[in-house]
Amino acid sequence: MTERGREELRPYLRDEPPPDDATIVIRGGPDTLAKLTMHARRTHDAYVLDGESLWGISVYCALDDVGPASLDGLLRRFASYRAVHLPRTDQLRRAGYLLLPSFGRPHFTIRLDGDDPAGLTRLLDALGPAEANKYHRRERPGRR
């Protein structure tokens, strides 16, 4: 813990090579500036990184071809989201964002410089449009 009451994230970072540029990133959506601001501030209120303030957004990377860390596995896991953003890691890197491999694989935290609207708008652009999550179905057998 830090003296400011926020937890240090460093011990929770995984030691693993960064995902390659073509890796698909899953972010539950549809995101808005207001939501990103709220989530970034929540991370800020809870964590620091190397003693410095940290703003961040949680995402998951499709690191495997099959299983729980695959794109299919993650879309199924996050079926509560009717829409998802699916940028590639290089889209985020080209926009200047660092992906921190935090907590359990394949969770990552996108590190942000702050919570200013201009920066978060840039992140929103980098995430790209929200797409329908095929596992979020309004009609299912047994819903009568």
Binding site: M1, G5, S58, F78, S80, F103, G104
Partner: protein
């Protein structure tokens, strides 16, 4: 219209492997007790969740949530099937 019991980002997990939220973001904190079934997330992405525990952290009380399978509508449907009006 959806109203969640506790607002959180369903993608926020921590070292426990569970989704975490600040208790202060609960609509009614009395509803959020270990073992309680709540609706978590936000109006666009609500999920039924079990409250695993509530831990004290210097940043505030943190709620750990186990997201249950299925979607909110699934639970509504099963209740409609199971409950017979008197």
């Amino acid at each position: 219209m959806i109203r969640v019991d506790i607002t959180c980002d369903l993608m926020d997990e921590d070292e426990t492997g569970h989704v975490w939220a600040f208790l202060r973001d609960a609509r009614d904190q009395a509803l959020v007790q270990p073992g309680a079934i709540v609706v978590a997330g936000d109006e666009d992405a609500p999920a039924v969740a079990e409250v695993v525990d509530i831990v004290d952290k210097p940043a505030g009380q943190v709620v750990h949530l186990r997201i249950l399978p299925g979607q909110l509508e699934d639970y509504q449907a099963v209740i409609q099937r199971a409950v017979i009006p008197a």
